[in-house]
Amino acid sequence: MRKIKMLRTTLIAAACILWQAVAHAQMHHQHGSEAACDEPELRCASKVTPAFASDGTLWLAWMAGGRISVASSSDYGKSFSTSVAATPERLNLDWGPDARPKIAIDRKGGLALAFSIFKDKAFNGQVLYTRSDDGGKSFAAARPITADNESQRFEAIGFDNNGGLFAAWLDKRNRVPAQQAGKKYEGAGLFFASSKDGGATYSDARMAIDNTCECCRLGLAFDPQDRPVVMFRNIFEGGIRDHAVITFADAATSGEPRRVAVDDWQIAACPHHGPSLAISPSGTYHVTWFTNGKARKGLFYAQSRDGGKTFSAPFAIGEAKRSPSRPFVLAGPLGLTMVWKEFDGEKTTVRLMTSGDDGASWTKPKTIAETSDSSDHPLLVADGRRSYLSWMTKADGYRFIPIGDES
């Protein structure tokens, strides 16, 4: 009897070895990939981020084929320059739903990039940055934004009006001392640094606030006094993952976190669904976010006319039955623009509404683009004249659509 059992164990063990060999051979088959292909080209990108240079050139930074690449367009996205890989080696790039490469352009046309990689099998991250001084022809070797070796993800970068570069990200370094002290550590700290040389080097990292939600994109904008403002999903008392805004005193000094709304979303999970923030020339903060809280569920918009101290009552966006998601708000030269995705079971549409009175009233939502397979978040970008939708889709490629013709 024992012998039979032992033989069976051996057979099962052998079968497992065999299964693993088969599994290993199949492992490069990506289940349900977001990308149409696995080359570094734009058509294979899963995430594309746009930025305009001051001379009107449109730049895109994207992740595809394990690389971050850039290309430019002088005809509003109709044609693009030959792409340049900013990271020559194939990397295990952060493919989380709210991750994407970031691009910021200084007044002289220098390009600053930042992005995250997964650095181990436990999906710990590292934020890397690089810069091009020759108009995107070549990039410096990518370097970590902080010397700390624990885990960073969800970076945001932006230039203020004086050419200072500000960076914020989510950083798990404080879990080590917490765990050593036998304490539970929740979420991640919101860390920040700045660069006076356009992103060639960054200052030492500082923490703005600890124990924020660890898996959502940040919103970053500058107020009329050039102060950085960051919107993030916080973890409030009792594990409530609602949103907050911090107006920094300056690029080296944090400020008080202020709650945007009491949505009361208590969840011990990763929503993977971060907010968006824009600040209009009047100094009004415009915020939009997703929640599934007890107080409200869905996408919402609110504004603050006192520098982020208090916010208006949340205003629901989108068709609740169509799973509205990924809201993005931009303060452009012709006013405010907001886009988000809706899904009807077959098609994803990008819905648009605009406001010409600083967010007091909004137009009726309408569809400006659609696709029938996976798509990136819809993003907005503006040059000095108008705003544009930037949207990567798996089935229909990259879309760059001017806003404002349709009204």
Partner: protein
């Protein structure tokens, strides 16, 4: 003698295709229509459907608890669906299920346009994981967002087994 026999058996096993029972431990690709198929297959049986993913921190804590729960509750059907945001990683997924004692559960992995797959399951679900559905014999469904409390699962399954006819 015995050692030689075992060595021969091992050698033969390596040459043979995977035995039938092993197919039960494979991940089933979850595509269009899979949800209806799954609901039909478990109709009339108390079933727990757990959505998770390899990159989800809270899932790493919860999964072994569910593995232990499954062992203690053979009368409850246990289904796991890896619904991580793409790309899903079959090898890492299987390894985590194995470590958590869930390899013999009915295990699926999202394969296709994730938004559409989620919409078939619940149009209001935006993809946050972990997420657990408790489904009674009558098809009544309770959704637990975030990590489930095992004590809640215990109470729910006790109620299901108490009403057994």
């Amino acid at each position: 003698m015995r050692r030689q026999f075992l060595a021969a058996a091992l050698f033969l096993a390596l040459l043979m295709p995977a035995p039938a029972q092993d197919s039960d431990t494979q991940l089933k690709p979850f595509g269009r229509g899979s949800w209806q198929e799954l609901m039909k297959a478990h109709a009339g049986r108390p079933t727990i459907v757990h959505f998770w993913g390899v990159t989800c921190g809270p899932c790493k804590v919860e999964l072994p608890q569910l593995g232990a729960f499954m062992k203690d509750h053979p009368d409850i059907d246990m289904v796991t669906i890896s619904a991580d945001f793409v790309p899903n990683l079959p090898e890492a997924t299987r390894a985590m299920l194995e470590r958590s004692g869930l390899l013999l559960a009915e295990n699926w992995i999202f394969d296709g346009f994730a938004d559409r797959l989620r919409f078939e399951i619940d149009p209001t679900w935006q993809g946050d994981i972990p997420r657990t559905l408790l489904i009674t014999r009558e098809g009544e469904m309770t959704t637990i967002e975030g990590s489930a409390e095992i004590v809640d699962l215990e109470q729910w399954s006790a109620r299901q087994l108490a009403v057994k006819k």
